[in-house]
Symmetry: C2
Subunit: 502 residues, 2 copies
């Protein structure tokens, strides 16, 4: 009686990552097994199995003898309507005792962290258990050995990419927190034009108005399997693809969502998350951009230096080379925020257009130069000169177009249906722009799901503005989202701080 058979019925419930199974309260299996709401059960069928949380259906939504699955559980079981599924009590998840060990103040060994990552990546943890692990590891509660162990454990659970024929693989990463700041495609174009091998896998936005993958997707296809990525690399020496399909660090993918829900950011978790994905992507030399500013992710130079030190130590233990650059995160980089607006900035920089954002161009050149210096050891001055030449000569733009062609060809950028212009209420010096509030504004307008949504800045912090001068333009595809963003802006006019002349 530990198992019994039910037939799959499509309820179409999207509960995001948490696997849920739906059974009727009068279901004989449910009663015989003594299941109650929120119980953890093991569902098996089609040669797959998944641990899921039980939700009890108390009316006739589910026909007798049937069972429903959330979309995430359905995907895991590859279930189709009518399929036969069996349900039993979920086995004890053994690695949870290591989570409790950590809660009880003991450091975890690498094999214990690996057991936790393996169970998380196999979807054996429920969200509350992931939350317990993340909370107890947050705020520097992981020591250096644990951070190294966690990084390696995350790599072990995922797919490792191989780049046959390429001995030295380069990569870059930004720890985020600054709107716009879409340097990655420019750095990839310039550095790969210089001959560096850069198989760039990027993420989609989780809490920001756009991830690199969201922005690139407006220009060309970014969703490829590993075999196709390898073909693109062989053709161009670089790619700009979405990393999610490669399942580089599945445990991290599941943890990141809970971490963001809790608004937590532990150094250990951050370092392990970044480095594990780079190692899994096959990179040996990684440039890490750490923007610092009062409304950025990292608030002070001290914090940034500490983080850079941890990145270096963990990377060394994992036998990869990292270089950290501490950059200006006091305000957005570039003028566009949101996928399509950022794509316009990228093209303007690559085509050396006069209106291209100066800050985005200069930052990208500096990052590319550092990668070139990591590759050649030629000194940063020479590397900067080379990077600038590659951009100004059109070589980077040509290389970008080669990548675009290899990834299926350039697309035309769509236009937003709803646009509104916003002006300075009074004159003075634009003292600051709040990164967090500006990001929220772009997200309320619909970014990144709505690719056209976002905004375009017409001034930068430090500029003098006159009363009535344009501050920014807001873009949305729906009236509702446009209004919603405007309501937020009216309540948060301090996103722009304009100091009146005295």
């Amino acid at each position: 009686m530990a198992n019994d058979v039910l037939h799959y019925f499509e309820l179409g419930m999207n509960t995001h990552q948490e696997a849920v199974v739906y059974m009727h309260k009068d279901c004989t299996v449910c009663r015989a097994e003594g299941f109650s709401a929120s119980a953890r059960v093991l569902v098996s069928g089609n040669g797959h199995s998944a641990i899921a949380t039980l939700n009890i259906v108390e009316n006739s939504l589910l026909p007798p003898g049937s069972i429903g699955l959330s979309t995430s559980a359905r995907a895991k079981l590859a279930a189709k309507p009518g399929d036969t599924l069996t349900v039993s009590h979920a086995p004890v998840v053994a690695s949870l005792r290591f989570v409790r060990k950590k809660i009880h103040g003991h450091a975890l060994a690498e094999n214990e962290l690996e057991a936790i990552m393996t169970d998380i990546s196999a979807h054996r943890y429920r969200d509350v258990e992931i939350a317990a692990f993340l909370s107890i590891c947050a705020d520097n509660r992981l020591d250096l050995d644990e951070m190294i162990g966690l990084t390696r454990a995350m790599v072990v659970c995922g797919t490792k990419l191989l780049w046959p024929g390429s001995e030295r693989i380069f990569d870059k990463h930004c720890i985020g927190g600054v709107p716009g700041n879409r340097t990655t495609p420019l750095v990839v174009a310039i550095a790969s034009a210089a001959g560096l091998i850069i198989p760039k896998t990027s993420s989609r936005a989780i809490t920001s108005p756009a991830g690199t993958a969201d922005t690139m997707e407006t220009l060309f296809n970014v969703d490829f399997d590993v075999a196709t990525m390898q073909k693109i690399m062989q053709a161009t020496g670089a790619c700009l693809v979405w990393g999610g399909a490669a399942s580089l660090s599945p445990a991290d993918d599941l943890m990141v969502r809970v971490e963001r829900e809790l608004d937590l950011d532990g150094t250990g978790q951050l370092v392990a998350s970044v480095l594990s994905k780079k190692i899994a992507a096959g990179s040996h030399h990684v440039l890490i951009d750490i923007p610092v500013g009062p409304t950025a992710k990292v608030r002070s130079a001290t914090e940034a230096d500490y983080l850079a030190g941890v990145f270096s130590q963990v990377a060394t233990a994992c036998q990869i080379q990292v270089r950290c650059l501490i950059t200006d995160g006091s305000q957005p980089i570039g003028a566009g925020i949101g996928p399509v607006q950022e794509a316009h900035d990228l093209l303007a920089v690559l085509k050396c257009e006069a209106q291209a954002p100066h800050d985005l161009r200069e930052k990208s050149l500096m990052l590319a130069a550092n990668l070139i210096d990591m590759a050649r050891g030629c000194g940063l001055e020479k590397a900067v000169t080379e990077a600038r030449h590659l951009l100004n000569s059109g070589a980077a733009w040509t290389q970008f177009q080669r990548i675009a062609t290899a990834q299926g060809g350039m697309k035309a950028l769509p236009e937003a249906a709803f646009t509104s212009h916003h002006h300075a209420p009074h004159g003075g010096r634009l003292a600051s722009i709040d990164n967090r509030k500006l990001s929220r504004l772009a997200k309320l307008a619909g970014a990144p799901v709505d690719k056209c949504a976002g905004l375009r800045l017409h001034t930068k912090a430090g500029d003098h503005v006159d009363a009535g001068q344009a501050l920014f333009t807001l873009y949305s595809s729906s009236r509702g989202e446009h209004d919603y963003a405007l309501t937020y802006y009216r309540d948060n006019m301090d996103v722009f701080t304009i100091l009146q002349n005295t």
Copy 2:
């Protein structure tokens, strides 16, 4: 556009305590607001509102323009089919910054703990957020001031019971972990026969085979509102009711479930949980039973003494008197485990029947004597004599029957449909009985939902048993659950350790 109207449609989804709202993926509100699966939303209607987690329905289960609710959210909103509900983005839960403050290693002030408890009791936290708070407070991470603050904060958020006309209110509590051990009704009968005022509110089982409320419910009604409880108290000086209806510590009720899911037990959380409910119940003098044993909740005398010290200090700060008794938790107390079987033991002790379990009787007398001594200061010897006299003379049984009558009258105990007897595989000394495994066995048989389910021990640890001698009888109401428990027993025969004579 921050709000929009939908009509309530009954989906009948029981997700336990976590409030869930169901919206169709093509729903205009969903799209206009930019909601995605797992978003937190504020649902309002009928003059109520609730924060809930969004699940997206991807097929035609929900008619256009309608919205579904989990049973917990429906109860909170008092929603009926067709009711008009509005949905908007959930407001920021301000107290979450105190959870993060604690994660970042800072002690919390009483007002900060009160803000957290207020938001939890108003269902503003999702389970992952409760999990984060519990994890970071577990394992003695709350200092004494925080434990005092947490206790007071839990009291503030709940209902406080008043017992007009009674100046000194007595109470008892067992921290649990020992199967059977149903001393509470006996202690209440004896001590209230001695004239002590004991308004006893008890819980239902969460992870054990029976809570006191589950057991008492087999004998008489335990579900009363506060006004009726006051009437019962005026009539008899005592009651034996379920505390859940009184909402004494709603934050604790919500936290306990997540704590058990995570299998966590922090001292601070335990002490605050117990004392807040006693204070809210209007008690001034509380006896706390701390059973110690290798398979009990508290494993060592050192741990028990530490816990007793914390109870005393927090109680003193909260201006109530506690006395802790450290008792034998090495094996079950009494012979019956599960609601009906425990009720049989209670009646046998009260009626002074020869087969009444000696250990249950003696432990209950000792606990009652301590309460009498707390009330009179007469010395424990005199108090024990008085307690024994009250039991032997039938005064306690008479008082128990008065309480039963005030609570609606005694019911006949039901009988289990499926029974099986289990015997010693070989002779020897029964060295130990595993509390945890025995509890699990009773739960798999169906306890406490199935009141008849459970087991009856025929021997105790320390006894000599012959090969084939009866060890226990197993009871269930369904064949499936009976088989499921037997499968577990076959895999865990070491629940009884019988040492063969050498």
